[in-house]
Symmetry: C2
Amino acid sequence: MNAIKNAIRDIPDFPKKGIVFKDITPLLNQPKLFQKVVDIFYSRYEGDRIQKVIGIESRGFILGSVLAYRLEAGFSIVRKTGKLPYKTIKKSYDLEYGTDHLEMHEDSIEADDRVLIVDDLLATGGTCNATIQLVEELKGKVVGCAFLIELSFLKGREKLKNYDVFSIVQYA
Amino acid sequence: MNAIKNAIRDIPDFPKKGIVFKDITPLLNQPKLFQKVVDIFYSRYEGDRIQKVIGIESRGFILGSVLAYRLEAGFSIVRKTGKLPYKTIKKSYDLEYGTDHLEMHEDSIEADDRVLIVDDLLATGGTCNATIQLVEELKGKVVGCAFLIELSFLKGREKLKNYDVFSIVQYA
């Protein structure tokens, strides 16, 4: 995992002071590392009969869509409010100050679909938790939550403790 | 192409009155059609020695990243202003009213990289044209511009007439 971790760039004070942003663009730029990340995810889930992969806006689209393709699953998206054009369901989630909302098209999951949720980064688990609620409201079964990066010190895994959580690189 | 076209949903008056939005989410939801779209793109570009695929925010991320993976290329992203954390270069482009800006990390392209630009939809060509300028400012070579959907009546292809433009489905 060292090559993967080395290709993730720390950006201090982005998007605001005190936050160290994990920039995955140098990793995506490198074909072999990009392939490797996708192949690690694929190996983890290939036996799980995933029918739908959910990508969370917007970096989750990048890894989620590739994984959907490799798993021969459908791909669905979760977005911030107002960006999806068809009938949606909505969940709020906590931010550091206040709340925000995520939406999903109501026809993006069918009952009993085996669903894998993908995002680039697990922080406090708020967006993933809201996404799980959306999937379950549509009667989908959340088989796993996959992240490239886990900020372990934020304990997002505790919020998702009833679910199978996987990450490729961790920061303690 | 009929199955692909039939899976694209028209949403009248989105994001504003008078616009008919082409919603590709029902297509992405269907594994076989999603695979088919990627395979059509792959067949078109597999001999072109593409080294970098650029996805334009944010639906371009979905198709672009899969295509980068298939072509064993690197994947880079173009975003609206303020979302990329590292040093960027910037171009403005015209909207119906006023202008907007696109940014790219200055290290996302190396000189002489053979680049494929991917987005879900070609309308007037403004965002693609701005993306071409960003790539060329970084000395990349634009090998092609690939779209799932082309709104032919908006004549975006004319704005991109010095480049190889490919689309899977067209609306006249």
